[in-house]
Symmetry: D2
Subunit: 224 residues, 4 copies
Amino acid sequence: MKFIIRSVIAGFLFITAASMFSQKAKRVVFFGDSITEAGAKPGGYIIKAGEGLAKKGLAGQYELIGAGIGGNKVYDLYLRMEDDVLAKNPDIVVIWIGVNDVWHKQSYGTGTDADKFEKFYNAIIKKLQAKNIKVILCTPAVIGERTDFSNQLDGDLNKYSQIIRNIAAKNNCDLVDLRKTFLEYNLKNNAENKESGILTADRVHLNEMGNQLVADKMVEALVK
Amino acid sequence: MKFIIRSVIAGFLFITAASMFSQKAKRVVFFGDSITEAGAKPGGYIIKAGEGLAKKGLAGQYELIGAGIGGNKVYDLYLRMEDDVLAKNPDIVVIWIGVNDVWHKQSYGTGTDADKFEKFYNAIIKKLQAKNIKVILCTPAVIGERTDFSNQLDGDLNKYSQIIRNIAAKNNCDLVDLRKTFLEYNLKNNAENKESGILTADRVHLNEMGNQLVADKMVEALVK
Amino acid sequence: MKFIIRSVIAGFLFITAASMFSQKAKRVVFFGDSITEAGAKPGGYIIKAGEGLAKKGLAGQYELIGAGIGGNKVYDLYLRMEDDVLAKNPDIVVIWIGVNDVWHKQSYGTGTDADKFEKFYNAIIKKLQAKNIKVILCTPAVIGERTDFSNQLDGDLNKYSQIIRNIAAKNNCDLVDLRKTFLEYNLKNNAENKESGILTADRVHLNEMGNQLVADKMVEALVK
Amino acid sequence: MKFIIRSVIAGFLFITAASMFSQKAKRVVFFGDSITEAGAKPGGYIIKAGEGLAKKGLAGQYELIGAGIGGNKVYDLYLRMEDDVLAKNPDIVVIWIGVNDVWHKQSYGTGTDADKFEKFYNAIIKKLQAKNIKVILCTPAVIGERTDFSNQLDGDLNKYSQIIRNIAAKNNCDLVDLRKTFLEYNLKNNAENKESGILTADRVHLNEMGNQLVADKMVEALVK
């Protein structure tokens, strides 16, 4: 079995979990920001998820497509969803967004208000569900890995994660609660309360362990 | 002649410049933020524009519709343009947006990056022009009326106004350059270099003179 | 026993815990922001602390002076400490600052960087300790009373509180850990995870219960 | 004649305009941020001012000392003025501050409110004048060199410059109005309306021409 990786346009990468698909292969688009953009590169969580599916003998049943662009916030996803998601006719869309919506408030003054975050998120789901696409939501993992909630943006990340959990519940969407997953992992593995280096390289973007952990959770969500 | 004002839903107001329309009455939607929301209320610039058209004997030729919602930024317009603009089948759409894109950077950390402002603006125009709707653009007028460019956000307002001027030029759209209009008016009428009270009540929202000045410019743009 | 309250200048209030002081009455200045400014008004925590001391029969042993000014950050305290604290020849200074240093980052873009917060805080302590004044530090209590760390600024508040705890430890200062106190109280009494109304009126400023809780903690710190 | 440059502590550089001083050599401290920190390095405006004085045959009459630290805002100057300025017994202090007070609002959320900027600035001048030190004020030059006031922070820079001009007038201080100087130079030499490259390398920090222009203005102010 081999992976075919075709670079389509800047920032996009198509990863096929097998060179030939049966008619039943489900097309999965991972829709997100720079974390997902990196996820489609070698060692990234999408690649690792493909490997994880292959180990389970499911290589031919899923086609994994990365659609992440650095700096994206929820409204950027909404703007480009026709071209980058719907045009690909996916069966499943995994939405992982929120870090920049919170982070850019502080770094550029251009984050997203909570009420508008929710509004755009719902608008995306509505369009996807209208096409009978299964939608899986993820909470933003971390901006800083400290476990005592002393990372500067923990308050807002917790707030926006709760918004996403509520959206998932209301729309009957599966949830990959990465914020919860990352906190639990750090509580066990980050005794020194470090800002980064456990699951991230730089407080936000995934290191190898982070990519593996996310990949495992994505596989769980896909095959359940 | 009388004006018929029907309140449809909160924040929206339909103003008809005459009780009966000939088939040639052009439907104009004013698409914007709180300034435009107020513009559709008694004394507002849309009402005054209707009066201005009536004085010119053009009452029956235009139907003016307000579609402003407080706090809107360019991406909010994009999100609601199907329901609030396209659903009304307008002949002309006047877009007046930008104050909150700049202002909210400072007040809430949720303004709009310049590159994304341009991207969403272009996406709106593209959708409108695809339906053969004439698009008229406006520059954001003021956040503070001082004439020596010492209003805190003048730099960004000038920058975003220039972005809009460039978009207008590239897309062959008419431009109502309210930023230029307001500066010229203040240079003549604001010798004390006051922050507000000349054309605005509160540095941003229009007072009676401001509404009249904007109405005059809108009429000019419509009938030219 | 009666309380003498003399208003000296706007924002300052001198509260004497008894009308006559023996030579051993310790003069205590509460040095802070709007929370402390309100604390010196009827029903405020400084008044309540005076009452608490009186109940313990210690009315004559402490003179409590409010020196809080709304909007103050750590560097504002440093700027006015000569006039508002040292000039009063206090035996004890209770410093309660930090809410605006965090909050104003988000609301005005004029908060205080963590490293400078620490630098100014240390400079204040150094000047006070050089005059043999006992210094008691307080952590900022809350900006929002939710107990799941989903208040927007919880991350930074936790971070700045930890900075203050470290400063207290390094300088052998007593600590009134109000952030810890408030969280513990809310975990017991805020089952609905409300933003305000438990110990604060508006997420930040103390209601009656909040003033009482702080007063109790201040009395504990003074008499220990 | 030679220049003696002694590095004293990180960020500080002492520049003597001549190897031997007569008793009448005036000691001048340049008190500021990263621009002034760089100004004391080879090619910097303080070095160039020393050269300019030498060309006028005034090398022995001035001792120029750099006291700039990167990232400083007005309150940082206040905090360190005892050690870094008063301890040097200067005859003249040139204060050049303000860029970070404005800039950090946007980049970190830790700028300085206008009223507090004025308060700290006045406190510095008061302490210097109490020691009969002559104080020369400078306005912040630029954050971006565009001449049409479309640099993002032009509004606030103009506002804070006006505050400084008013402080100079009220306290009978000489003023080096670098904001005016830079604008005039750019109006003549920046026909393409570029953001940087005329007097700055990066919109803020001086290139060779910028250092020369500032040096010339400093010499003018010192010898007048």
